[in-house]
């Protein structure tokens, strides 16, 4: 079987399109690359959606934690503490358990025990907590002059937040937030490994890498392939976040722009 044929058969196997049975013998490198790559669809899906949704909640939580109103502050603080303070796999365990019980309450909750929704929710809450802490730290270090200038222009409420506080916060938080994004994508590998069941052998990249390691009894091929895909993904994340970073710092003079990535050594 040619490699092109393999890609046609298994390229979208992770979402249930293509050959129904996984390869069983004579495992080729091509099969391993194709299936593990196909599993990456799930890692990217979980990562992208959790990141976008988490970003919104994180902004709200950071504002809540910085708020002077106790009713807003305390819940935000606890939410951040619990989700940052416990390992992700315990969160998956309790998340799955909770969704199972909700299922008995009403059939509306049926899809929640499937990874595509249930694990996404857990990852979303998890990354929201981590990002909120980063944004909160950034909020505290917004230069006083910026907010004073906003006051002097007569800005208040929404426009002050939208045009001064929020962009400055993002600018300050961006390097740390990039790291969090990398961690989140890596965390997506835990979904099927310890947490949610895999239906009809549709799993993420680690699931397929595990499948091959188990069938060939040789961990030195599939896991490095998985590592290769993740390094590529990390490079893409760093690239995209770097673009956003330069957009955020567009107003600064060219030579003052803080670059997200490596800079020639100025310090000796």
């Amino acid at each position: 079987m040619s490699c092109w044929q393999t890609i046609q058969d298994y390229g979208l196997r992770a979402v249930g399109i293509g050959e129904r049975l996984l390869p069983r013998e004579d495992f080729t490198l091509c099969q391993q690359f194709t299936l593990i790559g196909s599993g990456m669809i799930w890692n990217i899906y979980f990562g992208v959606f959790a990141l976008i949704l988490g970003f919104l909640l994180a902004t709200a939580l950071a504002m809540g934690k910085a708020s002077s109103n106790r009713l807003l502050r305390k819940p935000s603080e606890w939410f951040i503490f619990v989700f940052r303070g416990s390992p992700l796999f315990i969160q998956f365990f309790f998340g799955y358990f909770l969704f199972l019980n909700l299922k008995n309450v009403s059939p509306i909750f049926d899809p929640f025990t499937a990874a595509w929704l249930g694990a996404l929710i857990v990852l979303f809450l998890n990354t929201a907590a981590y990002s909120a802490e980063i944004f909160y730290g950034a909020l505290l270090s917004i230069p006083k002059g910026d907010t004073e200038a906003a006051d002097a222009y007569g800005m208040s409420g929404w426009s002050r937040f939208r045009r001064v506080i929020w962009p400055t916060m993002l600018r300050l938080a961006w390097p740390a937030y990039t790291n969090e994004a990398i961690f989140l994508f890596h965390a997506t590998a835990l979904v099927f490994f310890s947490g949610f069941p895999a239906w009809q052998q549709r799993g993420d990249a680690l699931y397929y890498a595990n499948y091959f390691a188990d069938k060939t009894f040789n961990p030195f091929v599939p896991y490095p392939i998985l590592a290769f895909y993740f390094i590529l993904l990390t490079l893409v994340i760093v690239g995209v976040f770097g673009l956003v970073n330069s957009r955020l710092n567009k107003h600064l003079p060219q030579d003052l722009k803080p670059k997200l990535r490596l800079r020639p050594n100025l310090i000796r």
Partner: protein
């Protein structure tokens, strides 16, 4: 009930708490050392050194720790045995790779075949520490690399103006001052490290999660004096409390360290401390 909580298996669970704490206590400084070495290499003047440092940071940071753990320990173990084999058994004529088997002479085994069990466990534990340190060292290197750049340039220029050599400037000015910039990043890393301990069982160390899963699983009456259903929830709840407490304690300690490091530094927080004292 008290009998149940003191079975040998529960004792193993309590021991594993100590194992995890010990592992964290050893891993943190080792990872920091790796990070320091990595960051220093990444800003080295000597290109191969710099490439090495930068690719270490980029590659290890790019791989999920779980994927790394799944094959790296076996590779590390084989590498150590291979080197010992080359050094200790030069007359060995058979190939080391025989089909699927990895065969080295008896003297090169790590630990030796007849070594007592505790030596094996210690060796496994050390491999786990080393693997953790390599992974988290890459993240620490990234943080330290940034921190080294964050030290105000004026400080270094002043040192040069005083006639310090590059080496002196690095060790006496840059290194003492970089910690305050590195600490937020390192604290965050410490929190991530704590939460990575459930992955220890992949490295062959029986950690708390392994025992919690083992103890919480359904037990049928034939094999135990204490049969019970699926109690994993309660064990995981206990783990949750353990991790939350541990996080809280870490936060308090790290805040103290931060306050101490800030003392006398040219940062906003340092300025605030000075004002408060005056």
């Amino acid at each position: 009930m008290s009998c149940y909580l003191t079975t040998g298996k529960h004792m193993s669970l309590y021991w594993s708490v100590l194992t995890v704490l010990l592992l964290l206590a050893i891993t943190a400084p080792v990872a920091l050392a790796f990070g320091f070495a990595g960051a220093s290499a990444a800003r080295s003047e000597f290109p191969p050194m710099r490439w090495f440092g930068k690719s270490y940071i980029a590659v290890v940071r790019g791989v999920p720790d779980i994927a790394f753990f799944l094959f790296f320990v076996i590779a590390l173990d084989q590498a150590i045995e291979y080197l010992r084999h080359k050094a200790l058994c030069p007359d060995w004529s058979e190939p080391i790779r025989q089909g699927n088997d990895f065969v080295v002479c008896q003297a090169a085994k790590m630990p030796l075949g007849e070594a007592p069990q505790w030596v094996h466990e210690t060796y496994g534990f050390s491999l786990a520490v080393l693997t953790f340190a390599i992974v988290f060292g890459a993240f620490a290197a990234n943080v330290l690399f940034g921190a080294m750049r964050a030290v105000p340039r004026a400080q270094l220029e002043t040192a040069e103006a005083y006639g310090m050599t590059q080496r002196q400037t690095f060790w006496r000015i840059l290194v003492p001052q970089m910690w305050v910039y590195a600490l937020p990043g390192l604290s965050n890393l410490w929190m991530v490290l704590i939460k990575a301990t459930p992955l220890l069982f992949l490295l062959g160390v029986e950690d708390i999660v392994y025992w919690a899963r083992e103890l919480g699983g359904t037990k049928t009456p034939r094999f135990t004096d204490y049969p019970h259903g699926d109690w994993r929830m309660w064990y995981f709840l206990a783990l949750l409390v353990f991790y939350l407490l541990f996080t809280r304690v870490s936060e308090i300690v790290l805040d103290r360290i931060m306050a101490r490091l800030t003392h006398g530094q040219a940062t906003a927080a340092g300025e605030a401390q000075r004002k408060a004292a005056a």
